[in-house]
């Protein structure tokens, strides 16, 4: 059979290729049609089922009350600006802290060994503590020791910061710094040993090899997982509300929700978080795809 096809006369080949292409097109079209029809039927059916169910008005009034939404949204939006600012500052700290810790853990300099131990201890401890616990511990614990008195009646730790937003940001930075350092370390370790050898062979020092050859490649490689941690951090900024940070979006939504006996303000806050995290997730998808096709 394949022999016969192989020895078939020349003109038959383009014909068969065109046939196959036509068949493929038809199949794609058919599949698209089925996908669209199925989507309309299933999602449309679900929508009809939802909207006509007896519970729908109750559900709508509790979560999507337009009047409550209009009333609370400007306040929540204003509060969300604090979330964004905290996120941006903490993110910068996290990137620097994470890279520093990762480098300390990967370089082999005997004099830096104690720092290496500290770096290992830091990642182990802070990656293993629930972020909410850490926020609470630092947010309430630091002010407690700041007013604590020694035997002589002095306050030796009075210099510590007690601003809740600073303490909350610090807790988030410590927690996420530990995660991100591990991401960086994985990136650095994934660069083949030969890269370093080659860099040394052309006359770079160990430090130059790290600075100009290994870290740039590692950072590029861990872009997507880093972005993933950004998304998680953006959401976790809401945790600082528990230590009394004023004007945070989730807290503002909670206050409005409790005042109106309606959950619409919380939905409004959720929408704002999604507004940031969904585009970030799409960006992440695109980035991953580009890497795969490269």
């Amino acid at each position: 059979m394949s022999d016969a096809a192989g020895t078939a006369p020349g003109p038959a080949v383009p014909d068969r290729r065109a046939e196959r292409a036509a068949a493929r097109r038809a199949r794609t079209l058919r599949h698209q049609g089925i996908a669209i029809a199925s989507t309309v039927v299933v999602l449309g059916g679900l929508a009809v089922l939802l909207l006509t169910s007896p519970g729908w008005p109750v559900f709508r009034d509790a979560f999507f009350d337009p009047e409550v939404f209009r009333d609370s949204f400007p306040r929540i939006l204003e509060a969300f600006w604090l979330d964004i600012r905290v996120f941006m500052v903490v993110e910068v700290v996290v990137l620097i802290l994470g890279l520093t810790v990762a480098l300390l853990r990967t370089v082999d300099v005997p004099a830096l060994f104690p720092l290496k131990i500290l770096a290992v201890g830091y990642t182990d401890v802070f990656r293993g503590i629930p972020t909410i616990l850490l926020v609470y511990l630092i947010g309430f614990g630091v002010p407690a020791i700041a007013v604590g008195e020694s035997a002589s009646g002095a306050q030796p730790l009075a210099w510590l910061p007690t601003e809740p937003v600073v303490l909350g940001g610090l807790a988030l930075a410590l927690s996420y710094g530990a995660y991100v350092s591990e991401v960086y370390r994985a990136g650095i370790n994934s660069i083949h040993r030969g890269q370093r050898d080659a860099a040394l062979a052309v006359g770079l020092t160990e430090r130059q090899a790290l600075r100009h050859v290994i870290v740039p490649q590692a950072v590029r490689r861990v872009g997507p997982p880093l972005l993933n941690d950004f998304i998680a951090l953006q959401k976790d900024v809401a945790l600082i509300a528990i230590i009394g940070v004023t004007g945070e979006a989730f807290r503002q939504a909670q206050i409005d929700s409790l005042a109106s006996f309606n959950y619409t303000p919380l939905v409004a806050a959720a929408l704002l978080y999604l507004l940031i995290t969904i585009p970030m997730a799409r960006l992440l998808d695109r980035w991953e795809r580009r890497r795969q096709t490269r």
Binding site: F140, P143, A144, V147, P164, A241, G244, I255, L258, F261
Partner: protein, 290 residues
């Protein structure tokens, strides 16, 4: 306690929604709810009233009866805010002090459904719609005020007016009337810090994370007496939407309207305010902040 306040706020919020925009409607609503006691006091004499024991008034409260609502664990001495209110109501209805009998009624069973072995009960019982399904409430004789509590060492411990507190950082608990009260009455220059629960509010006060906290007055007594002795109640102020306490009566009691009428009378004549001043504001050393 916060939960009760929430349930209590619900009808207020609904009423506000229904009342809509017209502020005129609001005032007419208020007057109509106040005049729930449609009975004239003339119809409320000891002879006409169907009390538990004819000619006598049986009043209940929990044991122990504690300050500032009662003094010396003895409701019969007429001392303490609620004891004084009870005797004033009795007097208004025409009962002599000697005709007033006291019985013990535990707080938790007071608002349970069923027959009552008292004519009315005064025990810091908040009027809530849920309880009102099972029992009757008189017109409120007290609206819980908000108290400002600060460390004695704080600059704000000496505040004598609400305006003095404008620059304070103030801590409150989420979901309580205190938050609204702070925003409405003090309007501090920095937004109040809102905590998840009362323990966090107490910690924040203790650790100087905030200059002052605002809680309802009964909570402030406990806070300054037990939890943070180094704190002091700076003062108290009236805020919209405060918890209201009423005398509790059995469901559909024939006395409800008369007790309400007596309380309304005491309130209108200013006698109630005087009792509150004597037994709550002065006894607890919490001056009223304006």
């Amino acid at each position: 306690m916060p939960k009760l306040r929430i349930t209590f706020l619900l009808p207020l919020a609904l009423a506000a929604l229904i009342a809509g925009c017209g502020s005129d409607d609001d005032s007419s609503d208020d007057s109509s709810s106040d005049s729930s006691a449609t009975v004239s006091l003339d119809d409320c004499t000891p002879n006409q009233l169907e009390t538990l024991k004819s000619g006598e008034l049986t009043v209940a409260t929990d044991s122990p009866a504690f300050p500032p609502y009662f003094e010396d664990d003895d409701p019969t001495n007429g001392k303490g805010f609620e004891s004084a209110v009870a005797y004033a109501v009795a007097d208004t209805l025409g009962f002599a002090s000697s005709d007033v009998n006291w019985v013990v009624e535990p707080f938790n069973s007071s608002y349970a459904p069923g027959p009552k072995d008292f004519d009315f009960d005064v025990n810091q019982i908040s009027i809530t719609p849920k309880r009102a399904e099972q029992v009757d409430f008189s017109a409120p004789y007290y609206t819980a005020k908000q108290a400002v509590v600060a460390l004695k060492s704080s600059d704000f411990a000496d505040a004598t007016s609400l305006a003095d507190l404008e620059d304070a950082s103030i801590g409150v608990q989420i979901g309580t009337t205190s938050l609204e009260a702070v925003n409405a009455s003090i309007a501090p220059s920095t937004e109040p810090q809102v905590f998840d629960n009362s323990n966090d509010v107490v910690s924040a006060l203790k650790q100087e994370q905030v200059d002052a906290v605002v809680v309802d007055v009964p909570t402030a007594f406990y806070l300054t007496a037990v939890q943070v002795p180094e704190a002091t109640t700076v003062g108290q102020f009236t805020a919209p939407g405060g918890d209201e306490w009423g005398a509790l009566l059995g469901k559909d009691s024939p006395l409800t309207d008369c007790v309400s009428a007596a309380i309304t009378e005491l309130s209108d004549s200013g006698e109630l305010a005087g009792i509150e001043q004597t037994w709550i504001a002065e006894k607890t050393d919490a001056p009223v902040l304006e």
